[in-house]
Amino acid sequence: MSEEEKKDYAESPINLEYHYTAGSATTRFLNQVKEGKIVGQSCPKCSAVYVPPRGSCPRCGVATNIEVPLTDKGCIESFTIVHIPIPGNPIVPPYVCAMIRLDGANISFLHLIQGIDVEEIRIGMRIQAVWKPKDEWTHSLENIKWFTPIDEPDVDVATLRFQES
């Protein structure tokens, strides 16, 4: 950009402060995460299990008021290998972000995969959470440092698709 062009741009920063409140469903979920437990919520109409839950089943538009305890094991539904550093992110590339489908859940969520050469990662691979030390647990999914592969046979992710009842 030339000096002349630069002059045409004026700094126009915006700063807004918020106090976020978690709402009912997320509060219930994060209170369990604080104890090292993952508890999804299921839809009373279609029985889909949501983790992390947002309080409603977007398929049916009803509250997910049934708590469903889940394990910290699952499989990789999809993943990406990140090669470029992102400003402010302390993780050194290359690293893997994966959509994690916990056993018994009908949706997946984003988390990190570590403990394996990035070239070996594949869809369907079985993984389990690696938790931070208990005294560091807070109301956050960051209590899980990352997921790491476990010695179990791969899963065909096509079988994970939600079955219309």
């Binding site: 002059k7 045409d8 741009y9 004026a10 700094e11 126009s12 920063p13 915006i14 700063n15 807004l16 402060e17 918020y18 106090h19 976020y20 409140t21 978690a22 009912s24 997320t26 509060t27 219930r28 994060l30 209170n31 109301h139």
Partner: protein, 148 residues
């Protein structure tokens, strides 16, 4: 509804470091602020919009005829803030005011300070005070004060 005291709360800040292009007309307005001049635009009907408007909201024509206005002007209306809040740029009592600059037919929103509420009236004359640092922003006019 869960108990308020069990509620999880977290502060967060949303910040965007936008850079805005002012375009051909408004960049002339902001350039002029660096020389402590305020520009308006004149429409074909002779009406002067200040700060410089890119189009006439009445005739809908695009405007390009720049004329210098101010730096003095008249308060058309104002609100007085005795106790400024966190987002206000002035931390002492001040007014947001619509100021019709000399030579202009419309008003400019800005701030008036260094006075008491009782000193301000619709019709009071004010004049521009300039910021020490020029950023090509409307805040290059620091605020207005009552004309001495």
């Amino acid at each position: 509804m869960s108990d308020q005291k069990d509620l999880l709360r977290a502060p967060f800040e949303l910040a965007y470091n936008y850079k805005r292009s002012s375009g051909p007309l408004m960049s002339k307005f902001f350039d002029a602020l660096a020389e402590q001049k305020i520009l308006g635009t004149k429409s074909s009907t002779g009406k002067v919009y200040a700060p410089a408007a890119e189009f006439d909201p009445e005739t809908h024509e695009s405007l390009s005829d720049l004329v210098e206005v101010g730096p003095g002007g008249v308060i058309e209306s104002f609100s007085w803030i005795e106790e400024p809040k966190h987002h206000h740029l002035i931390k002492n009592p001040f007014a947001f005011a619509l100021i019709k600059l000399d030579g202009a037919d419309t008003s400019m929103l800005h701030m008036v300070t260094e006075c008491d509420e009782e000193d301000l009236k619709i019709g009071s004359r004010v004049t521009a005070n300039w910021s020490a640092t020029i950023e090509n922003r409307i805040t290059d006019i620091k605020f207005f004060t009552l004309e001495k």
